[in-house]
Amino acid sequence: MADADLVTTAAVDTDPDTLTCRQFVELVTDYLEGALSPDERARFETHLLGCDDCPIYLDQMRQTIRTLGALSEEGLAPAAKAELLTIFRDWNRG
């Protein structure tokens, strides 16, 4: 790319067959959600194979999602539980 001039760079920028990293990061969620068209997905995956950094970015997004999944707090306060069980037992008898 050492001999690339402004004209060819601009052409690369707007080439409909390639993505820049800046465009790539905006497609990550659509990719993970399976919402890209087959063409868009092909461009996304082509970029992924040819880029050193975007696979790291995608992996960080996946790690972020995993982290969020580990935040889930289940369970309920004993008072709420007792109240709801009373409701349940009444319903069950009725």
């Binding site: 990061v25 969620t29 990719y31 995956e45 790690q63 969020l68 409701i87 069950n92």
Partner: protein, 226 residues
Amino acid sequence: MSIDERIAERNPTAPDHAAADHLLVAALRAGEEAAFVAILERYQAPMVRLATLYVRERAVAEEVVQETWIGVLRGIDGFEERSSFKTWLFRILTNQAKRRGAREGRSVPFSALARAEADGSDPAVDPERFVPPGRENAGHWAAELTEWRQTPEDRFVSGETHARAKAAIAGLPPAQRAVITLRDVDGLTAEEVCQALDLTQGNQRVLLHRARSKVRGALERNGEEA
């Protein structure tokens, strides 16, 4: 990871939720208290979180959730299982919460917030991180990304990371916070979130994307570069 593996990961075979749901509903109809407790423990916290999107106070949200459980018990015999149990449950909750919210005169409807937050430009990554237009490699990362080397076992189970992720979520605009909480924390599907929050699939994805991108950015800033 190969492309095929990535595709497989993107569309994992869904666990057999339908069969599990069916058993749960049957047990509930049969009046099995253990089944009711299991459902309560699974859904109470996400339901309260969802209800607080529609009513102001947590105490009111808890009342709405209690009314929802009463509605569930009354309606379980008539539930035809054409949707998942969770979808049905969250639909009852949303209806109750909206009615209550309307009574309280909550001023900005959620749908308006969601539209406003999904609108306009909100880059996933600070544009400064990319080579500016007109230069060689325009639009590519200006500096190499650093891998988060820690494995999920050490980095992502740490209380510190959890605290950062929670703080990042708390700092999000309300509709983005709602979507990422329901999707990524509570594990609802895209369809379930659209139904619960009255969102289009497209807006749901935009809100999720903006929210996830910000949380990633917060974890990155607090991690390697701090």
